[in-house]
Amino acid sequence: MMKIGNRTFQSRLLLGTGKYPSYDIQKEAVAVSGAEILTFALRRMNVFEESQPNFLEKLDLTKYALLPNTAGAKNAEEAVRIAKLAKASGLCDMVKVEIIGCSKTLLPDPVETLKASEKLLELGFTVLPYTSDDVVLAKRLEELGVHAVMPGAAPIGSGRGIINPLNISLIIEQSKIPVIVDAGVGSPKDAAFAMELGADGVLLNTAVSNAEDPVKMARAMSLAIEAGRLGFEAGRMAMKKYGEASSPASGLVTS
């Protein structure tokens, strides 16, 4: 069970809703993923053209918690504006603070993320900042009172997996709030690895939506996250330098 703010969730997979090949595939992928938290972005409606089907409007909102992001914001002020608009929908009080500081790498701006998180906490939001894997920054965010910290595994949409597992594990070790590894996860192996390090959850989008079979990958991610979590809870064996036989050394049939 994962607790964020005053809500608890059975699933530790947070799923993004962007870039799926079709609505039907997306619907099925979301269903088999078991995810209870879905991320969204806010954009202007295309009021001047025939409207396209909107995934959110077709969703059973009693089953899912919405986690709008502030993607598109370049500074704290813009992020706060987007978060307020999201809350005005009446559909959510959580927000993923996402302030991109570099258009090429899409890495987050730590200074603006900190500022926006502080302001949004003042305004009563449940705040989940997407951050770089900086250990001190994660600490500073926790001290502000954010409800979870979401360090990136690798740049958004890069699918490179956890580039700095040491930093991620140091963040997990120091944090009393949930740590959700967000962005850069490419395969079930990466998701399982994050969970084995002790992460409370994994947020991913492109790894599923850009898979050859997004529905199958959604299921794979769900299983990987569950397996990784169980492995973490079970406590892995110590690593050794040399081999150690699993079969008894005594009573050998051969002399």
Binding site: L42, R44, M45, S89, L204
Partner: protein
Amino acid sequence: MNIQLNGKSIDVPDDIGTLQDLLVWYGLQDRMVIAELNREIIKKETYQSTALTEKDILELIHFVGGG
């Protein structure tokens, strides 16, 4: 009346006086829409009583897929 809607300058017919009228005009009255008028968020309950005036800057926002 001329207003700016989602970054575009548009001419609105005279019989459209409120935000609700405008949403109906665009067929958006039943859609999940968030309205921001001159940088102020407008609550759904007040769409009917929110008058539009010349040079207003209106943003109609919704949720789209994102990570």
